[in-house]
Subunit: 455 residues, 2 copies
């Protein structure tokens, strides 16, 4: 049995792949690809230049090629699909055709209209209705996340009957850890975990042994709430029901892991104004366009700060030390504010912040800001006094820093809460707004106090 | 069957809890807690003030109380343990005593020495050796993550024998989706998925049906690699083996989900110099201390930038417009650099960046930086020219911006790579170093060029 020490290492696969491609050893490339899962191949493709991706993808068998499309991130996928379409779109139809309807649902909207029609028409009636069932729910809801491949049993049969039925059936969908018990109207009335099926007396009926105090997932529940449910309950799979409690399908942990990973990446990437679906090797023009918007938004902040400084041009001319020191006040406010903001955004994502504790949190953050404000104000004040041989400069920067750190704490707590109320993603907009506040307040406090005290 | 629309909502639980606590309805509080999983209760506790946590924790039955300790984040846990210890440490011994050895391993090092001894001594010989087995591996490795509750079978028995054995055994560990097939030396030779056990002919032997081309996890594999393996293979559980291939235990997806969540939080929190284990409601003094370090590190950056500005005091005195505009150059460089840095850190985490593609990536990022540099340089140049009625100011800031954006791209690619080589976490230190570069280069390019051109 292979022990997977260095098996799962995209970096090493990349190295091997490059060497084989350069020396033209295509048989070795195929062998390497054969040993990898579709998810691993997708990781590998994302690390290649777009034109190399097409070459590798064409070497895959149709069923693997289809799954690889599902596993790629959106931007890389749509780039690859365009490249395939412009050369030989038959491969695309074939690869998509091998997918089961639930996976197909994930990529069908990225397919060009003509290809989508071909693929959908080739589906059996049963598969087409499964596809439509999943597509009926918006992205990022339980309904869109679910698979429809459930095994259902009736409550009045014995376990022995169920066991014989399973053997007749011959195979089980991946990640099946429970059978679902439904009544004649397809309403979910319980689940029968495989562990009970395997350990209980076979003469007992399903009704006697099924678990009924379980939570079914409503099809319209947001994907992020589904992820929290899975984490809180350590589920492997869970049934999805409609408003009348009828069984629609099930969600499995592998898809939930993707949701968790995507959410986490969303938070990290949003911070830099990027999408979690961004492609590291997207064409320069596309990357430049996407990032330009974020730079433009931040330019507004920067000009706002510049405008504030401009109000005090005369003051700066009289005392140039102010220009030297002013970025310190703004930057320390930004850093302290980001700490509070980061904590609050996490708390909101975990739904740990609400009307009952927001005041406690604000008071705590203000207290922390005050302590750190005083500490670093003293340090900065002393350094500034020594540097410019002027105690009034030291006093000035110390006061401005305390003011800015308190404002930063206030902004760090309130901005994400306000954004969430307005339906704007705090992970995306929170950082820019916070920096705007800490820059403006920082420069205004420092230069404003200077104008008032010194002249 | 309850449909869990608003069930799993810490915010609503908080509200209910507060109302019940205020009106003294303790029976209602107990009822609410009874309906929640330990993970949900932990989420709830983290959203409460430390003194309320103790009150709630004491209301829990010992077994739930123990699991809640496991689920809490480290900082909240150690705070709660201190609070319990200082009032009645017997509860702590009792709660920890209910945990199975694998869960106990997660918290045993947070227990005060005296209590740890009591708990460990109360374990059976078998449980103590299980605990020691897990503790023998460092944190964040497969060995420390594993549970030892595997069900093993021999290859030469028939499925029918296995089925009867399972019925005799009567129960299965949570998240068991496979039985492990071992030889007489405990070496892992295959796995028998429950789905095969349930669907295959019971007269066949385990050897005929077991899956042998699986990857076993070496006990010393880092937890982050374990997570990638699970994601790439869609596993529910996987066997852990020692260097000789002997079965040690298994890792289950619920623990892997925690690893993924922790890693993601680590990246987000590190960005603000916080730990993923930070407690939102930690005492002010503790929070202030932890955050002070990060502010101090950033203060060095800020003073470095101030020192650069100080070099050009005379230039600024002659042309105050420079002081007004200089933060724009630095800030745009910081934003653009952060975009590159964020992409590269993600690529490194997924092992998608290596010697084969780092040059391609650098060229691409420089090209993107150049395009956006030119675009925004023109915009900023025109605004600055109009604002200060001086074309030389416009030309100056435009040139400086292009220089700084190119340096930002270079730093964004190289800094995380260098940090990783030096064994320093890029998510923690990358942002500070990048800002240092973009501040220093931004101020130096702008003010340096001004000194050279204008005077």
């Amino acid at each position: 049995m292979p022990v997977s020490a260095e098996h799962d290492d995209t970096e090493q696969h990349l190295l091997a792949l490059h060497q084989d491609l350069e020396t033209g050893k295509l048989a070795e490339v195929k062998q390497l690809l054969h040993a990898l899962t579709p998810a691993e191949i997708a990781d590998l493709l994302e690390a290649l230049k777009p034109k190399d991706r097409l070459v590798i993808w064409r070497m895959l068998p149709a069923d693997v090629a289809g799954e690889v499309l599902v596993e790629l991130n959106e931007e890389a996928r749509s780039g690859l699909i365009k490249a395939i379409e412009s050369t030989d779109s038959e491969d695309l139809v074939e690869a998509a055709g091998t997918l089961d309807p639930d996976d197909l649902a994930d990529i069908v909207e990225d397919l060009p209209e003509k290809i989508r029609q071909q693929v959908v028409q080739a589906l059996s009636h049963h598969d087409r209705s499964r596809l439509e069932k999943v597509l009926a729910y918006p992205e990022d809801t339980a309904g869109n996340l679910m698979h429809t491949d459930t095994i259902t049993v009736r409550p009045d049969v014995t376990l022995d009957v169920v066991l014989r039925y399973l053997r007749l059936r011959g195979e089980m969908p991946d990640l099946t850890d429970s059978l679902y018990v439904v009544d004649k109207d397809d309403k979910l009335i319980g689940i029968l975990p495989l562990s009970i099926l395997l350990t209980a007396d076979p003469d007992k009926t399903v009704r006697e042994l099924m678990v009924t105090d379980i939570e079914a997932i409503p099809a319209n529940l947001p994907a992020s709430d589904v992820a929290l449910l899975f984490e809180h309950h350590d589920w492997v799979s869970a049934p999805v029901v409609d408003e009348e409690g009828r069984l629609l399908g099930r969600i499995t942990i592998d898809d939930v892991v993707d949701v968790i990973r995507d959410e986490a990446e969303h938070n990290i990437m949003s911070h830099a104004g990027l999408s979690e679906e961004v492609d590291m090797f997207a064409p320069v023009k596309i990357s430049a366009q996407r990032r330009a918007v974020w730079l433009g938004v931040n330019l507004i902040t920067a000009f706002l700060a510049a405008w504030v400084i401009g109000l005090y041009e005369e003051t700066i001319q009289k005392e140039v030390a102010l220009a030297v020191l002013m970025p310190i006040v703004a930057s320390m406010g930004g850093i302290a504010g980001t700490q509070t903001l980061t904590l609050v955004i996490r708390g909101l994502a975990l739904k740990q912040i609400g009307v009952t504790n927001v005041n406690t949190l604000l008071m705590k953050e203000l207290a922390v800001a005050f302590l750190n404000g005083v500490l670093w104000a003293v340090v900065v004040g002393i350094i500034a006094t020594v540097w410019f041989q002027a105690i009034h400069i030291g006093l000035l920067i110390a006061t401005a820093m305390i003011i800015n750190l308190l404002c930063a704490a206030l902004a760090g707590v309130t901005i994400p809460l306000l954004l969430q109320k307005m339906g704007i993603d705090p992970a995306l907009a929170g950082g820019v707004l916070l920096t705007t506040v800490t820059d403006v307040v920082g420069f205004m406090a420092f230069l404003g106090l200077a104008t008032w005290w010194l002249f």
